[in-house]
């Protein structure tokens, strides 16, 4: 075995020994490069596979689950929706503009590889604490990168989330989501290669960028992070726009048999995975690969992560027509090989056989069931005793602080950098609960949301995974949609740490249970481990790790997109109700963090009973909305009931509004601050079309689902009043809400 593990590109000594055993000798540099990429955590999911298999991935409207470039659901009328979310955390931390741009470019390629035209993007972004000196740089560069790529592609970026927390000071997270639409009978897969097909390379030429990107993304950052810049790819959205049009045109003309994009590990993963999934092999002529620079070695060609490239299989006699299309769009289209029956990849270089590698050996990498251990901090997590906290004298000041906290405040300065109106499909723009898109030529539409709560996931990873699914579903339900399927992006620190692996296992369990109960299968997704960085503080080095951050992207359907409900109050005089139950608490809340600087207290229990109630609650609200009775609906989430009310008042785009709430919470046995700011309650704030409450129809619905509805106040022209505990001018919140970030 090699002594120098520095040269193993992230492979462990045991993995290296296993490779030696499989080959019967030590690998050369070419083989080592291929193994290190394909066996990397990023490409092989070696630590997570055993858990991911437990997730529900089929049934319902699912046509294609995980395993292809993206998942596919049936949208009716011969249409399908194709979607996936993927992380680009490591590159974005090294170089935020290019990292985020190519993250967006990569996920869009995954979608149009399947034959779908991308119609919307979302992104879930996490930065260090808002006051950290580098946060504004990361925020502005990441937003610029996302806009740069998505806007040029002509795909609207319609929503997502932006979260600030000091746990991301040394590892930002950029999770990008794309959804596309296709016809059910023309979905393209990477598993359809036939012996005798030719292997065609299309798109940009191959350069020196992104080499070892996949292995870089499978390691923690050490103190030499800035030397990793060359592992980050450089994006060219203009070329990708051409590639999109050319691919869709070739697909429409049925010139493509099978296709996969060259993402992580570039030509290596695309060729080996296509061959493997098709049960075939390939002969590849490295001399034919279009290069940006002379003198690239075979291993550099194979590992380059240059963007805007695709590998496809085509029938030999159709190559001329295929090339004609790519010529029209000014793109490379080069025959680089052939699909063969033998399950090996034969590489030719300088007109001679260079290397023959067994497909199965490369693709079937290691799989681990890594040790898990419940972290000590969770074992020792103190119960929340409100008596330990003195109720702040001026709750108005705290209320302003929370409603204008960077995590609550409007993200308008970010999303106005994204073109969210292109495509003329966006019915509800970013900044509200879920994005609503219509489909032209009919009434139906779909809804999208991305969500995660890492503070909760840190305290209770199971609850964090579960609630991420539930919260997306709440946002979709509050608009009148019904949840259909999800994609997940699981961002964690090192899986080699048993405590992190325990967090991962728990989070996946939470996602699984919520997905089963809400009937939203997980059809695609991605795992990003090693989100941790070695830091130096004087002579001491330590590891800065992110909180476990499971993020969910959810798709919902709505029969009539024009009837989607928005969360804001519509006008003075509207009656405000609570639908559901106030069973939340302050453990893990933004309030504890903002008022006392420590959220680390046991959150309320989130279990299967919680899920049962949730399903009834959401079904109940959906029925009320579909009957046309509801004017506004929003769930109580981060920042508690006060924040839900305040946002409902200030986000009305046409007029200034306020509220007057009179609610006797003494029966709940809680204090004023608990009433105002408790999180994880299962309740929506709704206003009705007319004073419908108390009518037979409404009571019947409430009874059917066994859900409570209680009037708590009235919409006012100005002022935010709650009993005698809150009394604020609406402007005071509005100004801060729209200027905090």
């Amino acid at each position: 075995m090699k002594k120098n593990t520095e040269k193993l590109f992230g492979l462990s000594a045991e993995e290296y020994d296993k490779i030696c055993g499989l080959l019967g000798r030590e690998p050369d540099d070419f083989e080592l490069g291929i193994f290190s990429a394909m066996w990397s955590e990023h490409c092989s999911y070696k630590s997570s596979k055993v858990y991911l298999r437990t997730l529900p991935s089929g049934g319902g409207k699912v046509l294609i689950g995980p395993g292809e470039n993206a998942g596919v659901v049936d949208f009716g009328d011969g249409d399908v929706l194709v979607f996936k979310m993927e992380s680009h955390n490591h590159p974005s931390f090294i170089e935020p503009f290019q990292g985020s741009a190519t993250g967006v470019g990569g996920i869009m390629r995954d979608i149009f590889t399947m034959g779908a035209r991308p119609v919307a993007n979302l992104n879930s972004l996490r930065f260090g604490s808002f006051s950290h000196p580098k946060t504004s740089y990361y925020l502005s560069e990441v937003a610029r990168g996302i806009g740069f790529y998505g806007n040029c592609m002509g795909v609207p970026t319609v929503g997502g989330e932006v979260v600030f927390d000091e746990c991301y000071n040394d590892n930002i997270l950029v999770n990008a989501f794309t959804i596309g639409i296709a016809k059910k009978d023309s979905i393209f897969l990477s598993s359809k290669c036939e012996t005798g097909n030719i292997v065609v390379y299309v798109g940009s030429a191959t350069g020196m960028d992104g080499i070892h990107g996949a292995t870089m993304a499978s390691e923690e950052f050490d103190l030499k992070k800035n030397k990793r810049r060359s592992t980050v790819q450089v994006g060219d959205p203009f070329t990708e726009k051409l590639l999109l049009e050319a691919c869709l045109e070739a697909m429409e003309k049925k010139l493509i048999v099978s296709i996969q994009d060259m993402g992580a590990a570039g030509l290596t993963s695309s060729s080996f995975e296509m061959a493997d999934k098709s049960g075939k092999g390939m002969a590849i002529d490295l001399d034919a690969i279009p290069l940006r620079t002379s003198g690239m070695t075979p291993v550099e060609m194979m590992l380059s992560e240059s963007q805007e490239r695709m590998l496809l299989a085509c029938e030999n006699e159709k190559f001329g027509e295929l090339k004609g299309i790519f010529d029209k769009w000014g793109l490379n289209c080069v025959k680089i090989g052939e699909v063969i029956g033998e399950k090996v990849i034969k590489f030719y270089y300088k007109s001679k056989i260079y290397k023959i590698l067994d497909v199965g050996v490369i693709v079937n990498g290691p799989e681990y069931e890594r040790p898990v251990k419940k972290p000590g901090y969770i074992e020792k997590m103190p119960e929340l005793k409100t008596g330990d906290y003195k109720i702040p004298e001026n709750l108005n000041d705290i209320a302003v602080k929370i409603a204008t906290h960077p995590n609550i405040a409007s993200k308008k300065p970010v999303f106005t950098q994204y073109d969210y109106t292109i495509g003329t499909g966006t019915v509800v723009p970013p900044g509200f609960s879920a994005a609503v898109l219509r489909v032209k030529g009919g009434a139906k539409g779909f809804l999208l949301d991305a969500n995660g709560n890492s503070r909760l996931a840190y305290l209770d990873p199971y609850a964090g995974g579960l609630l991420a699914v539930v919260e997306c579903a709440r946002n979709i339900t509050a608009c009148g949609g019904f949840p259909v399927a999800i994609t997940d992006c699981l961002n964690f620190a090192s899986p080699e740490d048993p405590e992190i692996m325990w967090q991962f296992a728990e989070a996946v369990k939470g996602i699984k249970e919520a997905a089963l109960k809400l009937n939203t299968p997980v059809i695609s997704g991605n795992v990003s481990f090693y989100n941790e960085t070695a830091k130096k503080d004087g002579d001491k080095t330590y590891i800065s790790k992110i909180y476990p951050t499971p993020v969910i992207g959810m798709l919902g359907f709505i029969e009539d997109a024009g009837k989607a409900v928005t969360p804001f109050f519509k006008g003075e005089g509207g009656e405000i109700y609570i639908l559901g139950r106030l069973n939340g608490g302050l453990g893990g809340s933004l309030y504890l963090d903002a008022a006392f600087g420590d959220f680390r207290k046991k959150p309320v229990g989130i279990d299967l009973e919680y899920l049962d109630y949730e399903v009834r609650l959401q079904n109940c609200l959906r029925v009320l909305i579909n009957k046309g009775l509801v004017k506004s609906a929003v769930d109580i989430s981060e920042g508690g009931i006060f924040t839900a009310l305040a946002e409902s008042a200030v986000t009305n785009p046409e007029r200034n509004l306020g509220f007057d709430v009179r609610y006797d919470f003494s029966g709940l046995g809680i204090r004023a601050d608990e009433f105002l700011f408790s999180e994880f309650s299962q309740a929506f704030i709704i206003t009705f079309e007319k004073a419908f409450a108390g009518t037979k129809e409404i009571n019947g619905i409430l009874k059917e689902f066994d859900i409570n509805l209680e009037k708590i106040g009235i919409v006012k022209k100005d002022g935010m009043k709650i009993n005698d505990i809150i009394d604020l001018k609406s402007d005071k919140i509005k100004e801060g809400y729209f200027s905090a970030i």
Partner: protein, 238 residues
């Protein structure tokens, strides 16, 4: 004359991305017969079109300067010739930038004063109600349309502005909801809040906001539709 007898041509450059939105709105909402013109097409047939739209996007990636490369594309020679023969040409967003770069309209576009891409709804005040692009707009009506651009900060020398003003060629200005032309309602730093201009003979116009994204009720505004309705009305009455 029925709308379906009106023929519209939509230029398509590599990187155009509002081409299909314009195509759909013209065909399906306004019932016009619109078709695409690929930038390399031999289009001596431009004469067969009743009007031409140069849609938004990132033509040629907007490398060099926004619209600069497209302005030198073969199809623009035909568009220039078409405009000189009084053909109606509307440039939207990148299309406006291309018309400026081609010298068909006067002035230049600078980067937005924020140096950022700006996507939002803006309000427009119409200053000339006689052009082919504005003749169906009701007087005193403030229009709501979305913008989505990085380089929409219109600039021209004083003499040019005077000439545009005297000629009535400044057709749209950014304003507030009530129609007041204020600094606060200017989304990109554009000189005198200019959002759209025409040439001397009013048959060519460019505007930064997107009428094709505001021609249907479900999208929150139908005001952009007035621009297309104006063109149709003008052609019918010609």
């Amino acid at each position: 004359m029925e709308n379906k007898k009106i023929k519209a041509g939509i230029t398509v450059f590599p990187g155009s991305n509002c081409d299909y939105d314009v195509y759909r709105v013209l065909n399906e909402i306004f019932g016009v017969r619109a078709s695409f013109i690929w930038h390399k097409d031999e289009v001596k047939k431009l004469g067969g079109f009743d009007f031409i739209v140069i849609p938004g996007g990132f033509s040629y990636g907007d490398y060099l300067r926004s619209g600069a490369l497209a302005a030198r594309s073969p199809v623009m020679e035909y568009v220039k010739d078409y405009a000189e023969r009084s053909g109606i040409v509307l440039g939207i967003c990148n299309g406006f930038q291309i018309l400026l770069e081609a010298g068909i309209l006067d002035g230049v576009m600078l980067a937005n004063i924020s140096l950022k891409f700006e996507c939002k709804d803006v309000y427009l005040k119409t200053l000339n109600f006689d052009s082919p692009f504005t003749c169906a707009i009701k007087k005193d009506c403030v229009l709501k349309l979305p913008i989505a651009h990085h380089d929409g900060n219109f600039f021209a020398a004083d003499g040019t502005i005077d000439r545009l003003n005297k000629n009535g060629s400044i057709i749209f200005k950014y304003c507030d909801r009530e129609g007041n032309i204020t600094a606060g309602s200017n989304p990109n730093g554009s000189l005198y809040n200019i959002a759209g201009i025409s040439n001397k003979t009013f048959n060519v116009a460019g505007l930064m906001p997107h009428p094709e994204r505001s021609s249907e009720k479900i999208l929150g505004s139908q005001d952009g539709g007035y621009v297309f309705k104006s063109i149709i009305k003008y052609i019918k009455e010609k």
